[in-house]
């Protein structure tokens, strides 16, 4: 930002994270993404209170009603109903917790485990590092969806198991990203300088390396959220994800596919919901990547 021409007037030079933030909010697309994301986040918290109906409530007199702006639609079913007369808006609002909310929780857990393992493998050298690397390569080679499917098959099909499976499938990517970042920094001269100053391993990591890899980790984090949303929805679509009793966007979409010719809104709205949430996260991710790069250059 306007740092270059006012550098003498400034009392404090902005920290790297603050600089990234200033760069980030100067990019409109990223800000739009952030607002949509915050909107989804608020909805995740308040969804059950604003949803007009319970997700399972069936209205036998109102089967396959089109959205309210359609000639045959009714405003009490704002986005229409499905073949059992369930309100689509209520279902979407409840599904926000399963698809969007749980993917946030999953990503946070996976990032903690993955970053921790990545730091260990990144800071270690020689045989230990290469053993960790091989295990990592093997797990990375298994398609994440396949890994999640197997884990669900082993542990049984409940929402918690699906979440754990998707989370475990995300961990290798975090390990890889952290490992690469740490390794990259370790070869820099300032790290060698810190080592010569007598820093021990923990100090090296916490004071020297961590501030410099934080940017890469944040970018990886947003990427992982979008992967988690897509994975949960895909598992739901293939009907091996969240069990049928919970409302989930992917499962809703799969239910709608059979009715696509007479009631296309059953497919359109869950799809739009998944698309918008992933798009918002990707906008934020790209904005961050861009902000990090600008901050350096």
């Amino acid at each position: 930002m306007a740092r270059a021409n006012s550098i003498y007037q400034e009392d404090i030079i902005p920290t790297p994270l603050r600089q990234v933030w200033t760069n980030f909010i100067s990019y409109p697309v990223a800000v739009i993404g952030l607002w949509i994301f915050i909107g989804f986040l608020i909805l995740t918290v308040i969804a059950p209170f604003v949803a007009p109906y319970s997700p399972d409530l069936q209205h036998p007199e109102a089967l396959l009603f089109p959205p309210s702006w359609h000639d045959d639609g009714q405003v009490r079913f704002f986005l229409g109903t499905d073949d059992l007369g369930r309100d689509i808006l209520s279902n979407l609002l409840h599904g926000i917790r399963t698809t969007f909310g749980s993917s946030l929780i999953i990503t946070i857990c996976a990032s903690i485990i993955g970053v921790f393992l990545g730091i260990i493998s990144g800071m270690s050298r020689g045989l230990k590092s290469s053993i960790l690397n091989h295990i990592l390569d093997a797990t990375l080679a298994i398609p994440s969806l396949l890994l999640a499917i197997i884990l669900v098959a082993i542990s049984g099909q409940t929402l918690t198991n699906v979440m754990i499976a998707v989370g475990i499938a995300l961990v290798p990517q975090f390990v890889r990203a952290t490992h690469t970042a740490v390794h990259h920094e370790l070869s820099r001269e300032y790290v060698v300088a810190a080592r010569l100053d007598g820093a021990n391993n923990f100090q090296m990591f916490y004071n020297v390396i961590l501030p410099n890899i934080l940017n890469a980790l944040v970018v990886q984090f947003t990427l992982a959220i979008s992967i988690a949303i897509i994975d949960i929805a895909t598992l739901g679509f293939l009907r091996i994800g969240a069990p049928a009793s919970t409302s989930e966007w992917g499962t809703m979409l799969a239910d709608g596919v059979e009715l696509i010719f007479i009631a296309p809104w059953n497919v359109a709205f869950p799809g739009i919901a998944i698309f918008m949430s992933v798009l918002a996260v990707n906008f934020i991710g790209y904005g961050l990547q861009r902000a990090v790069k600008e901050g350096l250059g």
């Binding site: 697309v29 295990i135 398609p143 895909t234």
Partner: protein, 343 residues
């Protein structure tokens, strides 16, 4: 150079060994008897049980079991399927070409669309076309594959009736599966209406391939753009600009050959994501490939089939990534020292 290739092959062997170990551990964790899960024989007779115990060394320690598990799988003995009792390996051989066909065409199209757009975005950095291409690639990247596939089927298949929605070839054309790749099979067969058959096969290919190609294409765009930008800002490019070299020659003869290598190595990393979306695409378009077969196997809790699928998919990903690595090392000497330094 041979030293580096030997290192890569070494890496390949170890990674595959770890992969087998992971799958072996999964098989032991799965519900049911280990002997049944490994061999796929349900309710075996006493003689069958003896053979299975002998084959997988089930009476020895787990290391022996693991080694004989590898031994059996390498010799093509993947057991039999729970659902129909036929050997899994033979089934895989008939299904694999369909998946490879789909993935290869998708990668080809992704490169065909992604490389030029990525180059354009890098050349017009921070101009309108750059933001447009980046915006489009972000939107494309956020599109769930299954939603896109369903919309494509509804619009092009059912509404407009332009394209067939399922399968690989109309049953009217009796083409024997020789190689398993439809287009090659049609070429090898001696049916009368070859042109019509080609036409039909291509019509079946268009929608699944484009659906599958969308996400890799957006990834290629972004990687190409990043690595092109890096090259275009390098000093040697500035030097040739100063010498008055034509911009086209700078972009295509100087920057592109250097920028394309990171793109290739990144694509091989994207392969497991591609396989994931290929599985979903196959289910939507009823494409008779590995992915659809695996999803069916999950519904039926057919553990030998699932484990065989993991081994073949992940093995394929590892093989391709090592192969691209070896090719890149062989063609670009400057990668060799970098490879030595890492890991």
């Amino acid at each position: 150079m041979w030293f580096y290739i030997a290192r890569r092959i070494n890496l390949f062997v170890f990674t595959v060994a770890v992969l087998y170990l992971l799958v072996f551990l999964m098989m032991s964790a799965l519900p049911g008897d280990l002997a049944t899960n490994l061999s796929g024989v349900k309710n075996p007779t006493i003689t069958q049980t003896d053979i299975i115990v002998e084959q997988y060394k089930l009476d020895k320690s787990w290391i022996n079991q693991y080694l004989s598990f590898i031994n059996q799988r390498i010799h093509g003995n993947f057991g039999v399927s729970f659902s129909n009792g036929s050997p899994i390996f033979d089934e895989m051989l008939t299904l694999l070409p369909a998946t490879i066909e789909l993935c290869v065409y998708a990668i080809f199209i992704a490169l065909l669309i992604g490389l030029p757009l990525g180059i354009i975005a890098a050349v017009y950095y921070k101009k309108t076309s750059d933001s447009f291409i980046i915006g489009a690639s972000l939107v494309g990247y956020s599109m769930p594959v299954f939603w896109l596939g369903v919309i494509a089927i509804m619009y092009f298949g059912l509404d407009l009736q332009w394209l067939p929605v399922a399968g690989r070839l109309n049953l009217l054309y009796q083409v024997d599966a020789v190689t398993g790749f439809t287009l090659l099979d049609i070429y090898l067969s001696d049916i009368q209406y070859k042109n019509l058959a080609y036409h039909d096969a291509l019509a079946h290919l268009i929608m699944p391939t484009l659906t599958l190609a969308l996400i890799p294409a957006t990834v290629v765009i972004r990687i190409t753009r990043t690595s092109m930008l890096e090259e275009l800002n390098a000093n040697y490019i500035k030097a040739s600009k100063a010498r008055g070299v034509h911009p086209f020659i700078i972009i295509f003869n100087h920057a592109l050959p250097n920028a394309i290598q990171p793109v290739l190595s990144q694509i091989s990393l994207q392969l497991s994501t591609l396989l994931t979306s290929a599985m979903v695409t196959e289910v939507i378009f009823s494409w008779p490939g590995i992915g659809q077969w695996l999803i069916q196997a999950t519904y039926q809790q057919d553990y030998p089939t699932i484990s065989a699928g993991i081994l073949i998919c992940a093995g394929f990903v590892i093989l391709i990534s090592v192969a691209t690595d070896v090719i890149l090392i062989a063609t670009t000497p400057q990668r060799r020292s970098a490879v030595h330094g890492s890991s």
